[in-house]
Amino acid sequence: MTKHRRYIIIDERDNVATTIEDIDDNEIVTTDRGDIRIVQHIPFGHKFALEDMEAGDYVIKYGERIGRVTATLTKGSHVHVHNVEDIVDEVRKN
């Protein structure tokens, strides 16, 4: 069986990848930014961090800011509503 990708990075500026299948914790995912150990189970369609992030850092997807990290998280972590806040009012300011 040919090895297929398990995630999508939509824009090269993104600091998160979105899974296209469930990935279990401790699995190693190969990326062009090196191998990443998945910290906790990531369901299909959810995001994991491609780099370590600090509270206050922006989550980048589609090459754009989509939210702000609220806790320290290591690469491979599940990035979702439990550690990200919406920045809709901020990004709507031109």
Partner: protein, 382 residues
């Protein structure tokens, strides 16, 4: 890249040569439906045309004018009642040199006479419309409308970005792409404003989303408070900004050239935003198509069967299960992206080939089934 299209008198190019039956007012819809069914022609009916006020009245007239002048329409029969706001004879005159007829149910003496007379008029039209022949034209003559419906996790992740790749290819080739669905732009308005060709245009894009949010708030809803929905969050969407960016990705990544009113005639090249009207998805579709888009690229997750009487609609999904179970709805399979076997760029190029085939005359699934969905929305104020 070239395709074979119909060059119309006004200079625009059609990808179809439909004979269309259109009712001016909801009162004439049944007669129009009967005539279209008996003659196997395209049909536009709607809920407006009378008793409408101000901007809604103007909007209905603008959409119906866009329909009868549409380059995909080779000839048109306008069916009126006789006492409505939208005048059937004037609408027929708007067709501007295209084979066109009108009838009034009052004048011809009732439903059955109107039906009989309508069938005869359509048969006359068919003979005239058949004279139009396809000629080679550049792909830069195409205007692609974008829309989504029955979305799922694969929409923002794969099928919308694939349409975005198509959009960038189309714009690069000198064509036009339309991004609508104003309510869904809300969380991406700032980004879109930065991509606008002037700061003033950027402000106008933000303002149309402000108007939409104020309108919804008066109705007791708020885009900001309602999104992302619990279902979105379960599917992996974290913020409203992420959701909106996934939607507007259908428009690709090129600069935004201008902002159009709902149903306004599309004259420019490149990527344009249309401030589509309030209502169901079908209303936004009608706005973009009446503006002159000849093909719609429609992304779906779970599978949406809606087609249009005035344009081929290419249904695109990245969800494998939808491709296999809804074969007579889905036109384009983007699931290799979601299975990890194809890049977004490669899939976008494959979609461009599909668009060219459809422009050349390949029949889409909704055309084959005869889906004639059409609705005219209302105008947001506030």
């Amino acid at each position: 890249m070239k395709f074979m299209g119909y060059r119309r008198n006004d200079g625009r190019v059609g990808v179809r040569n439909y004979v269309l039956v259109v009712s001016t007012v909801f009162c004439g819809s049944s007669v129009a439906q009967k005539i279209a069914a008996l003659t196997d022609t395209a049909l536009v009916t709607h809920q407006g045309g009378c008793g409408q006020l101000g901007p809604d009245k103007e909007h209905t007239l603008e959409i119906l004018t866009g329909v009868v002048t549409h380059p995909n329409v080779g000839g048109v029969l306008v069916v009126g009642l006789g006492c409505e706001q939208v005048d059937a004879k004037e609408l027929m005159a708007a067709a501007d040199g295209k084979p066109a007829r009108y009838l009034s149910i009052h004048d011809v003496g009732g439903n059955q006479n109107a039906e009989k007379s309508g069938v005869q008029l359509v048969n006359e039209l068919k003979l005239e419309v058949e004279k139009a022949k396809r000629v080679p034209v550049g792909i830069d003559e195409l205007i692609i409308a974008t829309q989504c419906g029955s979305s799922d996790t694969g929409s923002g992740l794969a099928s919308n970005p694939v349409v975005g790749e198509l959009a960038d290819l189309m714009v690069g080739a000198g064509g036009t792409v339309i991004l609508g669905e104003t309510g869904s732009l809300y969380g991406a308005a700032g980004l879109m404003a930065r991509r606008a060709v002037t700061p003033e245009l950027g402000q106008r894009i933000i303002e149309i989303t402000n108007v939409r949010e104020r309108h919804y708030k008066r109705m007791g809803k708020s885009i900001k408070e309602a999104n992302p929905t619990p279902g979105n969050i379960e599917g992996g969407l974290t913020t409203l900004v992420e959701k909106s960016l996934g939607g507007v990705r259908k428009g690709g990544t090129t600069p935004i050239q201008g902002l159009l009113k709902p149903g306004e005639k599309i004259m420019g090249k490149g990527l344009w935003v249309m401030d589509t009207s309030l209502g169901l998805g079908a209303c936004a579709s009608a706005d973009m198509l009446a503006g002159g888009a000849q093909i719609m690229a429609y992304t779906t997750g779970k599978g949406n069967p809606v087609g249009s009487p005035i344009a081929p609609v290419i249904k695109i999904t990245a969800t494998r299960e939808t491709v296999t179970t809804l074969d007579d709805i889905i036109d384009f399979d983007a699931s290799p992206v979601l299975l990890g076997n194809e890049t977004l760029k490669d899939c976008g190029r494959r979609l461009l080939e599909e668009v060219r085939r459809v422009a050349d005359g390949d029949i889409t699934k909704s055309e084959k089934f005869g889906s004639n969905i059409f609705a005219i929305g209302s105008i947001a104020v506030g």
